[in-house]
Symmetry: D2
Subunit: 214 residues, 4 copies
């Protein structure tokens, strides 16, 4: 195999990349200037050596010398009473961008497939309990489960609820993200589960503020 | 123009049908047996003559001789305290199939486009108020607004809320369907509005029933 | 079942139409004015009674009183030495629109599936031979096979070639449409068969007319 | 910006990659073992230093110490009378895989956009003429133009034909890949240009070998 073919094979392991696009990546690198390519390789190495998992939330962050906590976990202005459990690092971006959540996170590391009960190794069930113990001492009041709304996500929600049951008994609130119509939903195409949740979670007040009668 | 071309032009007016599929419909009819085609034309005529709008909810129904109310409006086992306002007839099918709603409906007849404030003629704003007057005397307590979660749907929700403000003052509850993650949602791809709603409407209890401490 | 449901079931038999769109067709008819609906039903009946298969090419045409030939077969200005065998009526539209063919057609009525050798009933193998006998007496010189470039189309090409072998021996030319790159093709995505044909059929002259050397 | 963000920006420059997938690539690298990552960076460097453009066809190849020709150009068993001019390196893979071409290549380096006549710098018009001069002395007889079948590809074909006109006068054959129906084509959906070419290039013999009359 030529270096071109061997490099294409490594690019094929990138998420969502097939053989044709992998080959195109190689040609892309061949036609870029040397500066781009050396930035790329040195950044790949920097990221590997300069990025590590946060000791509290397990998301990747560029660590400095004096801390093993990411910028969110070490930020005293974040709301330490709230902890959202998410599947993966990439879930943080849209939540932060929405500017509607100021609590902390815990990256669970994936979902637990409904059909593969022994798959639990890759996810961070045990670490989660240890972290919650710690966080409780720092004022944690509510854990928000934010897994995908699909069978594996629901299975993971149930699994984590069982893990957190002892803490619930001691007063920890465990909530799940609200279910209902999401942006773009049309009733005609909605599934039964979404309709059920949208009805159950219907909001008792609308957009209008009705001034009180005098 | 040949009859084939003229018929194709009529089929082009069917929702979602372009010239090529319209032509294919004509060839389809040409290759079916006579019985299918005469069933089709006579059913089209039957539907036109034997179907009319329900006097209360405005949905189409096959009317008998003695009633101008559809099977839902005339069903005393439905919950007459609840009225869901939907955009169009077709929205009823998924809701009924979900078996989670036993109240009544009102077909609003569409949405009011955000950018076309004079478009209100096609929808049933005035009829809605008259119907609510009547329904209130029969025990109506809550109106559920069930418009699409998009700009025109939101605009329609606001419009209807203004229409219903006088009734709200008299104690009618006006709610909107719950917003949040719908089936299949993944946090990574969720928009800011959906994340905001999912957080706001998060459910304070999960799947597990924790037995009370003793 | 209500007339609405029964009519939706008939619309579901239209090509490419599922239950949801079938239902939408019914609501479409319910909201159109009476004139549109009666034009539709009377045109459906007209098409059934006023359209028949051409006696020579088997395509559907609006017949008058004095002819059983369509406007193409009865047009003496078309080239009666060429006969193109096509799968279905709808194939004629793009060919006529391309204005590059002035010969006659024969609608074969479909393809013969590679995996279902007994499916030959629906297509017009026997009629084809009878028509070719007739056409030969009127000057036919070439039959062009114009089936889809896929396994069923290729299978049909082979089947028709066997049917036409006796005529080929008597001097009838049998050709197939040229294979190669079609509009939009990019080499990078071309399959081996298309590359093979594009190479075999490469044109020995390009766009430029080179003036002869003196 | 963190190294994670800077690396994501570089991945966004990969062909066909948007911000979200670029971010996912970074997380992918963070979760792979060190061996994979160091193979990746060292192969990227190897490819840059160990791969160069062939002096004759300009495709990238892993050069050894003793040659500046790629394995195709230096292979005496390839047919040196044929030269196919292709847009980019990636076009070679499907042609070689089809095993229907044994001649040589010339990588033109792109197409010349119809709407941007000054864009010719990136492509290899001047180099092409020099190479053809050389190849003619080594027995070159035919140049096959293999550009995409779209406006830019056609424009490039015309441009190259003008470049090659002097050689055509001296007896060089210039051909273009055959046009017609490609694998998967159905007549009903074919455009006028493809139908025209398919008719013009129709093959006068079909699959069957008719034994000669005696």
């Amino acid at each position: 195999m030529t270096p071109i073919e061997r490099l294409a094979l490594l690019f094929e392991k990138f998420p969502g990349i097939g053989p044709r696009q992998a080959q195109r990546f190689v040609y892309h690198l061949l036609t870029q200037d040397g500066e781009y390519v050396s930035s790329l390789t040195s950044l790949i190495q920097d990221v590997r050596s300069g990025v590590r998992e946060c000791a509290m939330c397990f998301r990747f962050f560029a660590h400095g010398k004096t801390t093993n906590l990411c910028s969110i976990c070490s930020n005293s202005e974040r709301d330490h009473t709230l902890l959202m459990i998410i599947e993966r690092d990439a879930d943080i971006t849209p939540i932060e961008r929405s500017k509607t959540y100021n609590g902390l996170y815990f990256v669970f590391g994936g979902t637990i497939p409904l059909l593969d009960q022994h798959h639990t190794k890759k996810t961070r069930g045990p670490a989660l309990r240890a972290i919650i113990e710690k966080r409780l001492q720092e004022g944690l009041k509510e854990v928000i489960l934010a897994f995908s709304v699909n069978p594996d996500g629901e299975n993971t929600t149930r699994y984590v609820e069982v893990q957190l049951a002892p803490f619930q008994e001691k007063g920890l609130l465990v909530s799940i993200l609200g279910r209902g119509l999401s942006t773009g939903s049309e009733l005609e195409y909605a599934d039964a589960e979404t309709i059920k949740n949208a009805l159950k979670n219907r909001s008792k007040q609308g957009f209008l503020e009705i001034p009180p009668e005098e």
